[in-house]
């Protein structure tokens, strides 16, 4: 009978993961090409598109590096290939790491080291299936109702002013939930958020100066990095 170690280092798993990632990368490229072409048709200049792509790539680096930190935490529990797959598709850094800490006890082991050493292939199969099927709930909404949900807030329907209100409500609701949780839940989280905000405002003011307009493309990336780096100071002072 195969063990967990056999499964996580299986060449078959690696080949399937590599194939899946190639498909997802191809899917992203097709989406990019279609969206880019449509942007040009809609009158958005190539210059603006270049700016957006450059800013998106730069902006993606730091959160991706945070995901790499999560990847290494997950690798210790589930090996390289499966962790790589989970964090490259569907998975979310926060929930995957949360699950990595509870998965060993869920299948009857004291900790992840014991699981890695003693778990059978079937035990790890339970983990793989749970992780693959669990996150499908979102798709049960997105696939049948994605079009309807998008149309419910489509502002092209200019005669309906409620859609303008509803469209903003979703984003405002996210903020209305996150901000009090961050402010009242943890002092360091609050200070990191405020630092990010202060840096964003400061950069916004600077970017108004003629020679510093380029800063506009990087306000979010820089303020996010500044906020994260400031956590080292706030943790020292308040934790």
């Amino acid at each position: 009978m195969a063990t967990m170690k056999d499964i996580i280092s299986s060449p078959l798993l690696l080949a399937l993961v590599a194939g899946g990632l190639l498909y997802i990368a191809g899917f992203s490229l097709v989406y990019l090409k279609k969206a880019y072409t449509r942007c040009i048709e809609l009158g958005i200049s190539k210059e603006d598109l270049k700016k957006v792509i450059k800013s998106s790539l730069v902006f993606s680096i730091v959160p991706s590096l945070s995901i790499v930190v999560g990847l290494f935490a997950l690798i210790a529990v589930m090996g390289v290939v499966w962790s790589w797959w989970r964090l490259s598709v569907i998975g979310s850094l926060s929930y995957e790491t949360m699950i990595s800490s509870s998965v060993a006890s869920a299948i009857g082991y004291a900790n992840s080291a014991e699981m890695l050493e003693m778990a059978s292939g079937r035990d790890f199969g339970v983990v793989m299936i749970l992780m693959s099927v669990g996150m499908l709930s979102g798709f049960l909404v997105l696939i049948p109702f994605g079009r309807k949900l998008s149309k419910s807030v489509d502002k092209s329907d200019t005669g309906n002013t409620w859609k303008h209100v509803l469209s903003g409500t979703f984003m405002l609701c996210l903020f209305a939930v996150y901000i009090p949780v961050l402010i009242f839940g943890d002092t360091v989280q609050m200070l990191v958020m405020l630092t990010g905000l202060v840096i964003a405002v400061g950069l916004g003011v600077l970017a108004k100066k003629p020679g510093l307009r380029w800063l506009n493309e990087f306000i979010m990336a820089f303020s996010m990095i500044g906020g994260m780096v400031s956590s080292l100071l706030w943790v020292k002072l308040f934790s």
Partner: protein, 253 residues
């Protein structure tokens, strides 16, 4: 107060149409593949677990983390992302990466969400971001033995834990701009989520004062319950004329 609710016939933008058709097909293919991977590997090694081994009292805790979060993310993020939602959901890491990236792109190009231009721009951003992340993670997995020590430095780990608060700091600046919708401006939109703000503040304070720490891990559940509150209260305030949609130039409804 009269609300202009006549329904003009309008067709969907061709790109949006493409996404809702082929984006959906591409997503279904990816999903089938994702579910098939464990079964193919486990069948090869002859260790497919029984249904009872997969779903029982111990494993249900894992499903209880995933299932409500999935519903919450789909219901709250799809209306913001529009037709870029398919690619966003399939590549994951939405709140900590894709959604802020899309918001940043729309702000930069001065386009509004839920318009053909806004959705095309956010799709460009999400696709670029997805490719970048796939590349970074592939390099990290490939060179994990060499680079792991750097990512295990306590400073790097600490800074990474605070990604979401830092993101919210930088996103807040664009919050008010998000209620501007092309030629129209939503006035007092924030009033609609005031009940949510009050309820979550009280809950967060109560949990902290009672020694329970932070509600950060329960945000997915909170959004699921607070979204209907926000929509109903915004609707009531819009009906009562507290939230108004006015013309950007003239300031009139």
């Amino acid at each position: 107060m009269s609300k202009n609710n006549t329904k003009p016939v309008h067709t969907m933008d061709p790109f949006q149409e493409w996404c809702h058709k082929w984006g959906r097909v591409g997503t279904v293919i990816a999903l089938v593949y994702m579910i098939a991977i464990p079964f193919v590997v486990l069948t090869y090694y002859d260790c497919v677990p029984s249904l009872g081994q997969v779903i029982n009292l111990s494993t249900i805790s894992i499903l209880l983390i995933y299932i409500p979060v999935g519903f919450s993310e789909a219901l709250s993020y799809t209306p913001i992302l529009g037709c870029s939602a398919y690619l966003t959901f399939i590549t994951g890491n939405i709140m900590n990466l894709k959604l802020p990236c899309a918001a940043n792109a729309m702000k930069l190009a001065e386009k509004e969400p839920n318009t053909p231009e806004g959705e095309a721009i956010s799709s460009v951003a999400v696709a670029s971001c997805s490719i970048m992340t796939i590349l970074i993670l592939a390099l990290a997995a490939l060179f994990s033995t060499w680079i792991m020590p750097v990512f295990e430095l306590p400073q790097v780990k600490t800074a990474s834990e605070y990604l979401i608060p830092a993101l919210f700091g930088s996103l807040t600046l664009g919050l008010f701009a998000s209620t501007n919708s092309g030629t129209k401006v939503v006035k007092n939109g924030i009033m609609g989520v005031l009940p949510v703000l009050i309820i979550v503040s009280i809950l967060a304070l109560a949990v902290r004062l009672l020694g329970g720490g932070s509600l950060f891990g329960a945000v997915g559940f909170l959004i699921l319950f607070m979204l209907p509150v926000a929509i109903i209260s915004s609707r009531i305030m819009w009906k009562k004329g507290i939230i108004k949609v006015v013309d950007k130039e003239t300031g009139k409804e």
